[in-house]
């Protein structure tokens, strides 16, 4: 029987299990995985089950597609700015969900989502950082580091704290280790910004106006298609290109900024909501995908190209990710 993914703000059990499970995965080194075994050079450091996902995301961000001479080598990467964005992250969430079920010893657990459009509709915009998700009783609020909630950092007891062990140095572009123990960094609406979270009207635009999954050239410059609109590269106003999924990353800021953004557990709440919107779109418009397997389309983003994970030997394809209703469903679709 398919498990059900719930709204984290209306299902206290999902909130409690999500936070407990994430903290268990941060401390789970049982698989004996190290940075060297993941193929990273340099110091050989142990990697927790949780941090394997952080490193996987970082690595995917640095695999450029296509790599063929003559084509723009930096337009896409193996998980973003191209057609594979939605199925790649669906696969990632499925694997994390399995790990959470394992440490929670609960096969019925479904990853919760954060319906950020409800918060995005809240006025005035300046109050959005104070809404329910960011309370101490939910996932904690802003901070450098975050000092409240289940993922807090305690300077007196860093060994008992939620710590960031690997992050992308955005100058060198390399995976780095903090010089000293540090917690999560979250800004929640940067000080100079007047931008709020995405709104329900914008989600409605995704569902009502887009009949194509993706269109040529299958990159961030496409002016149509649910993939590029939902990823957030099509502006709702002339001067904005960080919308929907991208807007949520930018609005939260801090560790949600670089390629190691899964450091912040809210990454999964955001992507689960993105996945929910994609699922709603497929229910309405059909379980379609583009591009097909033609050789003229970008390798790594085609219907039957393999999606490779650092956390399992299993691979999948976009085609296999289109219908997973036998694995999970959502309590409600937008």
């Amino acid at each position: 029987m398919a498990r059900i993914r719930h709204n984290i703000l209306t299902d206290p059990s999902s909130l409690e299990k999500f936070c407990r499970g994430i903290n268990l995965l941060k401390r789970d080194f049982s698989a004996g995985v190290t940075t060297n075994s993941l193929g990273l050079a340099g110091m050989n450091l142990p990697v927790s089950a949780y941090d394997q996902f952080v490193i996987w995301h970082y690595v995917a961000m640095n695999i450029l597609t296509p790599q063929e001479p003559g084509l723009n080598p930096t337009a896409r990467n193996a998980a973003h700015r191209g057609s594979v964005f939605l199925p790649w992250h669906r696969f990632m969430l499925l694997l994390l969900e399995q790990h959470l079920q394992r440490v929670l010893e609960d096969e019925t657990f479904g990853l919760p989502y954060w319906d950020w459009a409800v918060d995005g509709d809240h006025q005035p915009i300046g109050e959005q950082p104070g809404l329910a998700l960011w309370k101490e009783t939910a996932i904690g609020g802003a901070g450098t580091p975050v000092e409240d909630g289940p993922f807090r950092f305690d300077r007196e007891h860093p060994e008992d704290s939620f710590t960031v062990r690997f992050f992308e140095d955005v100058i060198s572009g390399e995976l780095s280790v903090p010089l000293a123990d540090r917690g999560l960094v979250r800004q929640l609406q940067r000080p100079t910004s007047t931008l709020g979270l995405p709104t329900s009207q914008q989600v409605k635009t995704v569902l009502d106006d887009q009949t194509d999954y993706d269109i040529p050239n299958w990159d961030a410059r496409c002016r149509k298609g649910i993939r590029n609109l939902l990823e957030g590269w099509i502006g709702f106003s002339p001067d904005s290109r960080s919308e929907l999924h991208n807007r949520v990353h930018v609005w939260i800021g801090g560790d949600m900024g670089p390629g190691t953004s899964p450091n912040d557990p809210v990454f999964y709440l955001n992507h689960c909501n993105v996945d929910r919107i994609w699922e709603a779109w497929m229910v309405k418009h059909g379980r379609t995908y583009a591009p097909d397997d033609s050789s003229t389309n970008p390798v790594g983003h085609r219907l039957n190209d393999p999606i490779i994970s650092l956390v399992t030997r299993l691979t999948t394809t976009p085609a296999k990710m289109l219908d997973v209703t036998n694995i999970y469903t959502y309590d409600a679709l937008p």
Partner: protein, 73 residues
């Protein structure tokens, strides 16, 4: 057309993958969810994020009440 940039911040070379579109907007794969209207805007954002995440010293510059306009798109 191929453009080449050499960017350093405090003598450290910026080495992540850059993409510059035909309209001049800039994307930097190390900050994957944003595009910038100019290279200067991108570098400002790299500096802000590096300070926030403790990758470089702020030199006593307190970032808690503001950040720098990066002209992000």
């Amino acid at each position: 057309m191929v453009t080449t940039y050499t960017i350093t911040i405090d003598d450290q070379p910026v080495r992540g993958h850059l993409n510059i579109d035909n309209d001049g907007s800039v994307h930097y794969h190390a900050i994957p969810n944003q595009e910038f209207l100019s290279m200067i805007g991108m570098v400002k954002r790299i500096i802000d994020l590096s300070i926030d995440l403790g990758a470089i010293d702020s030199g006593g510059h307190d970032h808690s009440g503001h950040d720098h306009d990066s002209g992000e798109g």
